[in-house]
């Protein structure tokens, strides 16, 4: 379907004003619209399982700029200009863009010198990167907004002769918060593209050597688990073990609320000691988002301690049953080495073997970044941003321009700036802020629109399929291949109830049957029962503990190297990835067979 011909959702008229103008598909018969009609646009469910709140689009906007910039300008990759972004009914659509042919040659000397420099020093540069990233996080910690504006300015402005007053600091804090968000995403792309380049090159090398090799087998060779992303769940596992060692696990299993549990634990010495241990690790390891980190609802464990409590309780129950809850890291790593050594032994040509060694080594060297940066950016930085935004929201509430501090997420980052001036001036002049008269109604309207967006199922792809998909990042991360596109474009024309089988990538081996549990919202994760099959648009890193409970995993979006596939392989459970419209077709309670060997999900019985 042409992106311009998607029928509007009744009752959402005027939704476009919520987002930056450059995110919208064109409405006129201009060059822009012609370009849009000729591209393939695929829905980015990997990052955004739900529609975008206007403020949350900030992350997407940042990497819209920074991914494309590091690809085309910084590293001058000859045949890519990165990825263009649009929004439709609240959902983000992506499309690869390419430079004119004549520019490719011009970029060659630049790309070789620049990427060569980074690859050569990748480990060293990663250490430097870490320092830069931590500085961004430290500065973000200092940003603050007062919940109430004082009736008179603080003495310090006068007696320290600052020459400005609170409004100056508040305006700067907001500016700086946006700047830091932008900087965090610059840093993200400094190392990210090269890491995936190393991965993807190795993947294609293996395909040249062994034509029918599965992505899963390649994935096994690249597995390594040393990055920071693996720390938070490991800390929860340790806390679970500690609770058992202290014999306080019964007190924990009895509660669903962290506050109730903590109150009980405060009554005993071991309980207090356990809580003290939590204080030691929660900064930063509880700065893990309860979701993917891309939406403001994905707050930190620190903001909603009931979530880590549920995970800890789950670990305790498994430990009591005598199950091992630690990731089988050693086993997985040994298997990874065995697989690599065996494929190597099957390469006849000595020079090929040498190239294999070099490329595997590079892919493994760069793997530190994919496995760690997500903790710093998508989790730690993002959850802090949400916290600061809510502080600002609270200030707006105190000036009667918002009803609830969370309402701030219904405003995009460009809309907040004038409201800040309005509110600060009104604080000084004593004249009510103009926003007070219109903003609450506007937010109400936006909430209605958002609800309608949520009920809509975004088509997996729009526009026209290119003859072949050659953009490796799209293939590897989003699972966008020519074959999938054809399937997606076709799927949008079949009725949900007529579908009994879905095809996707064979993400992780094995065959399992069980009841489906469709998880579109975070709350659903907590409701998963032993043996359920998780069906989601995608999965987030922080969902990892759920993998202790479920029997298999099915996702709408993603490739063989997306999070769900990696984690499922690690837990040795079947997974089918990138089925397109699983969450639309499958209902909670349907009986499924998940065939992770062949990438097939069969609906055996409707609920």
């Amino acid at each position: 379907m042409d992106p311009h011909e998607v029928p509007p959702i009744p009752g959402t008229e005027g939704w476009e004003e919520m987002y930056p103008y450059y995110y919208l598909f064109g409405k006129e018969k201009t060059e822009r619209e012609k370009y849009e009609s000729g591209q393939l646009w695929f829905y980015d469910g990997v990052h955004y399982p739900v529609p975008m709140h206007p403020l949350d689009i900030i992350w997407d906007d940042m990497w819209h700029l920074t991914l494309s910039g590091f690809v085309s300008k910084v590293f001058a990759i000859p045949n890519s200009n990165g990825i263009d972004h649009r929004i439709l009914n609240g959902y983000i659509y992506l499309s690869g863009t390419f430079p004119p042919k004549e520019e490719e040659e011009r970029r060659v000397p630049y790309v070789q010198a620049r990427t060569g420099h980074y690859y050569e020093k990748y480990e060293e540069l990663y250490e430097i990167w870490l320092t830069k990233m931590k500085a961004v996080i430290d500065e973000m910690k200092t940003i603050q907004f007062p919940s109430v504006l004082p009736w008179v300015s603080d003495d310090s402005y006068v007696f320290e002769h600052k020459g400005y007053f609170e409004a100056d600091e508040i305006l700067r804090a907001y500016d700086r918060m946006i700047e830091l968000a932008q900087r965090a995403w610059q840093l993200h792309m400094e190392m990210d593209g090269l890491a995936y380049g190393g991965y993807v090159n190795f993947i294609y090398t293996m395909r040249d050597l062994f034509p029918d090799i599965t992505d899963k087998a390649i994935g096994q060779m690249l597995t390594g688990f040393s990055g920071e992303m693996f720390r938070p769940p490991a800390e929860l596992a340790k806390l679970a073990q500690l609770a058992i060692d202290f014999s306080i696990e019964k007190d924990m299993l009895a509660y669903n609320k962290w506050t109730d549990m903590a109150e009980k634990l405060q009554q005993s010495e071991p309980g207090k000691e356990w809580l003290a241990k939590v204080e030691e690790v929660r900064d930063p390891w509880f700065e893990m988002s309860i979701g993917g980190g891309w939406h403001h609802m994905d707050v930190a464990w620190n903001d909603n301690l009931d979530v880590p409590l549920a995970h800890i309780k789950n670990y305790i129950q498994r430990l009591k049953k005598g199950e091992a809850i630690e990731r089988p890291v050693k086993e997985v790593e040994e298997e990874s080495k065995r697989v690599a050594a065996e494929y190597r032994s099957l390469i006849d040509d000595e020079k090929d073997r040498q190239i294999f060694d070099e490329r595997l080594q590079l892919a493994k060297r760069v793997s530190i970044f994919p496995e760690s940066h997500q903790f710093y950016i998508e989790n730690w930085f993002h959850v802090m941003f949400y916290r600061k935004a809510k502080e600002l929201g609270q200030m707006f509430v105190s000036r009667d321009v918002l009803k609830d501090k969370e309402d701030i997420f219904y405003l995009n980052r460009f809309e907040i700036y004038p409201i800040l001036y309005d509110v600060l001036a009104s604080w000084c002049t004593g004249v009510p802020a103009i926003a007070q008269y219109e903003l609450p109604q506007k937010i109400e309207r936006r909430k209605q629109i958002y609800t309608k967006f949520k009920e809509w199922n975004p088509p997996p792809a729009l526009g026209v399929a290119p003859e072949v998909v050659t953009e490796p990042n799209q293939i590897v991360l989003w699972g966008v291949t020519s074959e999938k596109i054809d399937m997606w474009l076709e799927a949008s024309e079949t009725k949900a109830e007529d579908v009994s089988q879905l095809k996707g990538f064979a993400g992780s081996a094995g065959v399992v049957e069980g009841p489906a549990h469709v998880c579109l919202e975070l709350e659903e994760i907590a409701k998963l029962k032993e043996g359920d099959i998780l069906v989601g648009r995608m999965t987030a890193a922080s969902w990892a503990p759920a993998f202790n409970v479920i029997a298999a995993c099915v996702t709408d979006i993603g490739g063989t190297f997306c999070h769900a596939a990696i984690v499922a392989r690690e837990y040795k459970m079947p997974a089918v990835i990138g089925v397109g419209n699983g969450t639309a077709v499958i209902k909670t309670g349907d009986r499924l067979r998940v065939d992770g060997d062949n990438g097939i999900v069969t609906i055996l019985e409707r609920a």
């Binding site: 390419f98 070789q112 050569e120 190393g198 599965t214 190239i355 590079l362």
Partner: protein, 372 residues
């Protein structure tokens, strides 16, 4: 003339150490006995000793052939007949002469009695096989087994039951060294016409649900990380002879996972026909035609066995297997033959990858070439 053969002097001259032993249980044999009992028998022994699931059985060595030919008088009669035989192997119009010779010589051999001392030993080994199998008159296959560098293509008889039948069919395997093709090819290559000793494997018949072949590399492209399994319902002959389109599975050898599976419409199977008491090609019932002839666990287990065999021999193998109808999984999988894969193993394809000399430069080249 150098082309005639004297079994007696050959027996005395060649292998005095083993000259008295001519029949062996499989577990007494190994690859080193290729020339004594024929390759097929020696490899059945090698696999048995290495712990693979091979149907139980025994092998008659080349010497048994020689003893039979001499003591039964067959060799002498054949010699008389061949003394008058004249034909030009390079002249196609002489082919009917070979056909006629084949019929006459095979009739000579098949009318001979098995000498008593041979018969007694064969009975003893057959009895033992019946005992091991827990059945009286156990059904066996009598399979020909040529020694190394052997040109002929001989015959095999299936579902042979009872002592007299076993004897008859062993003699028929021997007589198949005089089928038209074999006489002609011996003549063409200057080998003795009256003599071509082979071994015979007598092995318990598997009640075959499905059977077929397996290569421990992909014969289509030489990819050594793959195992190709082809199978059909019934006995393996339909697959080996190429008379049906079999089901095909491609399994990754390293991670042992099916990467591709093609289920064919299998309309015919080679199987034991109760009515006629013979094995023959029969129609497959329509409801079984498009059902895979192997379960997934059977495919994966076969692949594991193929991988082990390749490791055991140190080179890619071409294997025949069969699945028993009644035994439980994993006990039901039998290997009935293995030999080195010859086509790709000789070919050296050279490097498949290009490099600019540094891994990071390669990444850039890779990006560049992707769109071009």
């Amino acid at each position: 003339m150098g082309v005639t053969y004297d079994p007696v002097s050959d027996m005395i001259g060649a292998k005095p150490m083993n000259s008295t032993k001519w029949i062996y249980r499989f577990d007494e044999l190994g690859s080193e006995h290729n020339d004594m009992v024929g390759k097929k028998c020696a490899q059945l022994g090698e696999m048995t000793k290495a712990g693979f699931n091979v149907p139980p059985g025994f092998a008659l060595g080349l010497q048994a052939y020689e003893l039979f030919m001499k003591k039964s008088g067959a060799h002498e009669d054949i010699g008389h007949y061949l003394a008058k035989f004249e034909a030009d192997p390079n002249n196609p119009s002489d082919l009917p002469k070979y056909d006629k010779a084949s019929k006459i010589i095979r009739a000579i051999i098949e009318q001979k009695e098995m000498p008593e001392e041979l018969k007694d030993s064969i009975y003893k080994y057959y009895d033992e096989l019946c005992q091991v199998s827990g059945v009286s008159d156990v059904s066996v296959a009598t399979r020909s087994a040529g020694p190394s560098s052997h040109p002929g293509q001989y015959e095999t008889f299936l579902h042979v039951q009872g002592k007299p039948e076993v004897i008859t069919n062993i003699i028929k395997v021997w007589s198949s060294t005089f089928n038209q093709r074999s006489i002609h090819s011996r003549h063409l290559t200057g080998l003795p016409l009256d003599y071509d000793p082979i071994g015979v494997a007598v092995l318990k018949m598997v009640n075959s649900k499905a059977a077929g072949v397996m290569f421990t590399l992909n014969p289509a492209n030489g990819d050594r990380s793959k195992i190709i399994i082809e199978g059909n319902w019934g006995l393996g002959e339909s697959v080996v002879s190429g008379s049906v389109t079999p089901d095909e599975w491609i399994v990754d050898k390293v991670v042992i996972e099916i990467v591709k599976c093609t289920i064919s419409n299998k309309t015919l199977e080679f199987t034991f026909d109760e009515g006629s008491g013979r094995t023959r090609m029969l129609d497959v019932a329509s409801d079984r035609q498009s059902v895979p002839c192997l379960t997934e666990e059977e495919v994966l287990e076969l692949a594991r066995l193929g991988k082990k065999l390749e490791q055991h021999y140190g080179k890619p193998q071409d294997i025949e297997w069969t699945i028993d109808r009644d035994l439980p999984f994993s006990e039901n999988i039998f290997l009935v033959q293995t030999r080195p894969e010859t086509i790709w193993s000789k070919k050296r394809s050279g490097g498949k990858l290009k490099t600019s000399g540094s891994a990071s430069r390669d990444v850039i080249d890779f990006y560049r070439n992707l769109k071009a």
